[in-house]
Amino acid sequence: MSKAAIRKVTTLVVHCSATAVALADPQRGPSSPTSIFSPASTPAQSIYGLSLFVLAMTAAVFVVVFGLLTYAVIKFRDRVHDDKREPPQVYGSSQVETAWTVIPVLIVLVLFLATARVITSVQDATEPHGALEVTVIGHQFWWEYRYPGLNVVTANELHVPVSDPAHPTPTYFTLLSADTDHSFWVPRLAGKTDLIPNHPNSMWIDPHETGVYLGQCAQYCGVQHAKMLIRVYVQTRADFDRWIEQQRQSAIASDAVSQGRVVFETSPCLVCHSVSGIAGNGQFGPDLTHLMSRDTIASGAAPNTPENLRKWIQDPSSIKRGALMPAFQLSDRQIDELTAYLETLH
């Protein structure tokens, strides 16, 4: 091989190794907030470990076979000065064929056993007493979260307590769907699990570090599947308990925005939305009792600012085209009052 070619191949090998090393080092910060190679919870960690093993074995197979292929392509090229005779004809070889049957069977067996182990450890983990239980209900195109033991209902932004690996306090999910298929996917916390109507699924996470974890719906569910985003806030036990307490309060009723509250009660809002303390029980859309405790609106489609909130109410399709919330042709003044009211719902 020429010197230039050798240099090129060496650079390539160095780059590939660097990438492999970088991927294998869990200590470096996540290259992206949704990297599957930066697990922060046991299911994601088990998957990550298994994936490295699978990648290593398949990479080894690749190197061997590709190496042989490259060698064959170079070594057995027809040379111009050749005598044009047919090369020796080989019909088969039982030793070689047995070898390359037995070895792949062994490789596959090892991969299978490693995989089976992780499947059981993730899917069949026993739920410990006192684990937090959350019911996730998928809607087109938002997430409903219910904490049945704690009497809390919220939407789109999930809060869970952090779990100490020494004394795990996992969160167990029951996954349901109100309409079509969805899939809950927060890469750093766990693999994907589908939400299928009339087919309850369960999964669990035990995040090891506090912080915000991002995810998205991972099963095509219609026109705004792409903007059905997930935010998981992993908090210390104290912070989480405080958040729960706040979520259990009734809606703040401030006189300054009573006009806006009237708009809310008399417009079709209550057909889909609920605010605790106000008559009406809309279930089609997110619960708005603590709307201002969320960082985003429209399931992550826009930051929760007064301008965005106003824009959303005026015309949802300007932020999330195809969202199932219609524009209600309210007057500018009504929208201003309504926004002012919603802005008080902390």
């Binding site: 027809d78 499947i119 219609g222």
Partner: protein, 422 residues
Amino acid sequence: MASEPKALSGTAAARRSLLDKVYGWLTTVDHKRLGILYILFALVFLVIGGIEATIMRLQLVRPLNDFASPELFNRMFTMHGTTMIFFVAMPLVFGFANYMVPLMIGARDMAFPRLNAFSFWMTAFGGLILYSSLFGGTGFLNGGNAPDAGWFAYAPLTSLMFSPGHSSDFWTLGLLLSGVGSVGTAINIVTTILTMRCPGMTLARMPLFAWLNLIMGFLVVMAISPLTAAQLMLLIDRYLGGRFFDVAAGGSAVLWMHFFWVFGHPEVYVLVLPAFAIASEIIPVFSRRVIFGYPVMVGATIAIGFVSMSVWAHHMFAVGMNSNANTFFVFTTMAIAVPTGIKIFNWLATMWGGKIQFKTPMLFCTAFLFQFLVAGLTGVMLGSAPFDWQLTGLVFCCCALSLRDRRRNSLLHFWRLLLLVS
């Protein structure tokens, strides 16, 4: 058959001759002509499918782009997937089989020439029906009324409640028609190979190309049937008061998934076995060597055919099957890697010690070996269910799928295609 036109003025003779020619092609039952028609049909739809892919790529070129609306994008990814599988890859497969199998086994034509023609036209009309959906609804430039529930059309997204209007019906009807065509061609291929080999050509002496197309034919019959059944069930749900997939009435959304993937997995073997078949003919010729291990190549392919019917739920690892079911499908998926790997080794061994001439067909086959090695290994990765729980759902799979090569015979096409799928 048109009789020879008598001496006429030059223009009239030319005009009638052209009409005769077109009529000849439209009514042909000759396997070679039908093979060419299939391939031309596939190439036209390849361009269209490519345009659909380009629209998607342009939308994805930067975040929050507004090149294509969400509705248009969803129609594009549905149409692109459906087109590439059913109106590009399968017609290519059938085209090559039609043209070459009878020639290779010494038969005059296929066993059922008129069924052959019928099957081609059913496929063609299926494609036309699907594409007629582009003209309607919101108009051509916004995707018309094209189906938008994904090429896999999961229930209950395809129910009347979530897909009102007729866009899903174009998908169902187009594929019902082309499915009939596919099964017809498959029956033809299997019958021809089993009953019309020339005297002296036992199955053990048959070219590998014919063997692999025989197994492909069986797989088509076994795989398309559940898809057709599921599509009929969907139509019954949508229009005749059925409740197969209506969960509120006790139906099951997962049922659709099982039916679809029982089709979907053998389908990928339907698409890849003919590629294997072509490689199995080209590699020996251009290495000037007999194929290494002919009996094992046949045996491995038969094994692949059988095992491929048992792996389908590896497309459903995230659906919430219990750990035993998931583990079973990991096992069968890993198992199928063994005969597939053996075939790669056999091709490699055919080249080993040969005198390889790197003419264009061999360039393609070498690229195929490299690309299929990578693609096959990604299959092993996806077969490991927990890893699949992070990877499942199209993006990783699409990249893996694009690594499977297509057969052509032009150097320009080779480099262009290599660039396209890289």
